[in-house]
Amino acid sequence: MTGDGEAVPARGWGGDDPPSRRDYGRESRRREHRFAAALLGPAFMALIATTTFPLFYLVWVSVQRLDLGMPFMNGFTGSANYMQLLSDPRFWQSLGASLVYTVSTVVLQVVVGLGLALAVLEMKRGQSLFRIIAILPVVLSPAVVGMVWRSFMLTPEFGVIDYLGITAGLGSHNWLGDPTLAMISVIVIHTWQWTPFAFMVLLASLAALPDDLYEAARIDRASGWQRFTRITLPLIRPAIIMVIIMRTMVALTAFAAIFTVTGGGPGTATEILNLYAYRKSFTELSLGYGAALAVALLLLTIAISGLLFLLRRGK
């Protein structure tokens, strides 16, 4: 499509009564639109059916009372689920757990990932081998990672980590049985699995930095630290923020690894918002309230990501 009706040469496609050049152009454009719509239609419908519809249905469920345990009470409740949510201490606790989990995993991933990227950048040989090894955890399923850590690494007395701890004279710890240690454990597991992602992205963007800037800086006798904070960091800032955004969205909605490692326990120590919503919906069978929790999590994720995007555009 040329997009310009005048430019399309009129041939006698219109039959006995050929339309004017303008009409023909409009007709052709309309046809093309229809054709495009027909091509796009199935995919679009599939997308609506699989993403948009469930989303609106979730919101619809969240304004209902839908307890399978008490079907006789079910019905429309308006904002009741949301009011209940605001006064639910376990909601605030799980929100707090979500924020602790998200902030610490994202910060750790960026810091460790950047450190590794800087170190590897200087490597003359074996860089690609290192990259392959580093990427391995990312390709594992989080559920598998959870099971491996739970059974091989953290089991008191028998796990690798606990064994190392005992050998180092730190004694045996019940890594997943103590509230604080359990939180630290799930943070470490997530960081272990996903740091390679940050590492790869930052390494790529570091490798693309122009050498002449650094040369100029060296001539001006800028120290290593100055070169890092004044040149490297500002230049890779977009990459860092991109990593932060992507990892934040994933950390806020993390599920599988925590579910398999602690199931939110001990007690509710590692119960992030997503797990709480799952438990409400599928263990307690309070689908309405569970949906309200899921909507709250969705709003939170959108708000935080939006903020980060604004930050990215800020400079």
């Binding site: 345990g69 008490m70 509710t268």
Partner: protein, 462 residues
């Protein structure tokens, strides 16, 4: 059994069994099934072929007692002309999958291995049929042959809501003390009569420096895990779930019961037991690191696995210790089989025939002591079988006092109000499980944990 993990051994065994069966030439199998095999069933005065041509799907858990049943399925198909499809769902997921199927109303599972705590929920939603109509219909059930009164009364009571039966028990269990006879004898100890005695015994044999811990109880959070043990304690301390009709999970009895649980676990159980379910406890016991535990009698088959267990021949059993209220409270757990209300009438008939076949004295015997495979069931649903010499001989190999303790517990220690049978149970159970777990982890005191659970439960019941 209220288990939450794949029992790998039982799955492997079942797989081996079914492979062997498949390897047999189909003709031979059919001939075998047609012969004397069907005789005992044909004595029932009903038309077994009245639902011929139907296909029904049955969801079970991958445990030996169901694997044995699956092995016998060709006999049922031969008898009735109804085709069976089995779907194996791990115990941790079967409740959710069943609820999902029942809410969607698609009638995928004609019947499934059901948690007795869920019948109130099923009944409130009208998801399953009351079975009395099937039992009392002479064209569907020959009562003289099926003998429903012979089924363990505590289990049928557990599956009854408002006087109506919703699931026929297929396999069940009681909870018992499981003890290391040799360690107890070395210290001159007798099986505990009450909870104080149990702790005193645990203290006497507790020797963590030599890798022997006094006891272990389920610590893993879950309505079917730590709540399973806690409920018996709660009742033994004199607790009542529904005083004055209000569901109550806190109060002095609850606090005392939970405090006992926490203290016993802290003093005499390995730290990791906080995250253990029964298979983990049974494994630790098999390795000789735990000197006693209280759990389902059916874990006996795990601790008697020849190549895995180092304590075979050193095991003794005893009933639950008495609590301060003087009661011994055993679990009334059983896997029952309900009928999905969304099925067509003919499919319902087919499903009932299957349930009747599976729960009948003949099939119960054929899946236990008459079974040709290596695993014999120990949770048969018939009191009469427990008195049958062949059966008694088969299961008494599990250790001292096994048959006697189990049978006494089945008859005397069961308590229908062991756990509150209300439709909101899944939520209540989860709240109580979380409270127990946080108390065990030291995150909260028993009182504050239970009060928090009560606040949640009160909100749920509104």
């Amino acid at each position: 059994m209220d288990n939450s993990f794949f029992n790998r051994r039982s799955v492997l065994r079942g797989m081996a069994g079914s492979t062997a069966l498949l390897a047999m030439p189909g003709l031979a199998r059919r001939a075998m099934a047609q012969g004397a095999e069907l005789g005992p069933y044909q004595q029932a005065k009903i038309d077994w072929r009245q639902a011929e041509g139907e296909t029904i799907t049955v969801a079970v858990i991958p445990a030996a007692y169901f694997e044995n049943l699956i092995t016998l399925a060709p006999q049922f198909e031969e008898l009735t002309g109804v085709k069976l499809r089995f779907e194996k769902v791990p115990p941790a997921q079967i409740r959710q999958k069943a609820v999902l199927d029942l809410t969607s109303g698609t009638g995928t599972y004609a019947t499934h291995a059901a948690d007795p705590m869920y019948y109130a929920l099923y009944q409130a939603n009208g998801w399953v049929d009351p079975l009395d109509d099937y039992l009392n219909d002479a064209s569907l059930t020959d009562k003289d042959w099926f003998r429903p009164d012979d089924i363990v009364p505590a289990w049928t009571a557990a599956n009854t809501i408002d006087g109506k039966l919703y699931g026929i028990p297929y396999d069940g269990e009681v909870t018992l003390q499981v003890l290391r006879k040799d360690l107890y004898e070395a210290k001159g100890l007798a099986p505990a009569e009450d909870l104080d005695g149990f702790v005193a015994n645990a203290k006497a044999v507790h020797d963590p420096d030599n890798r022997i811990w006094g006891t272990a109880l389920r610590g893993l959070a879950g309505a079917g895990q730590n709540v399973y043990i806690y409920s018996s304690l709660f009742r033994a301390f004199g607790g009542d779930w529904l005083p004055g009709g209000n569901l109550t999970v806190n109060g002095p009895e609850a606090e005392a019961a939970l405090a006992w649980y926490v203290q016993t676990m802290k003093d005499y159980a390995p730290a990791a037991a906080q995250g253990w379910n029964w298979p983990d406890i049974a494994d630790a016991f098999s390795q000789g690191t735990v000197a006693s535990y209280i759990d389902a009698h059916s874990s006996a088959s795990v601790i008697n696995t020849p190549d895995k267990s180092q304590v075979i021949g050193k095991i003794a059993y005893a009933r639950w210790p008495k609590g301060p209220s003087g009661k011994r409270v055993s679990s009334i757990w059983n896997w029952g089989l309900p009928i999905n209300a969304k099925l067509s009438d003919k499919a319902k008939k087919a499903t009932w025939l299957f349930i009747q076949w599976a729960a009948s004295p003949e099939t119960q015997a054929r899946t236990s002591y008459l079974f040709s495979g290596p695993t014999k069931r120990s949770g048969v649903n018939r009191l009469s079988l427990w008195e049958q010499p062949e059966y008694v001989q088969t299961v008494s190999g599990f250790g001292d006092n096994f048959v006697e303790a189990t049978l006494t517990a089945l008859k005397e220690d069961t308590d229908v109000d062991w756990r509150p049978r209300v439709p909101q149970w899944p939520g209540i159970g989860d709240a109580v499980a979380t409270a127990i777990a946080s108390a065990l982890a030291g995150q909260a005191t028993p009182k504050s944990a239970l009060d928090a659970a009560q606040a949640q439960v009160t909100k749920m019941m509104q």
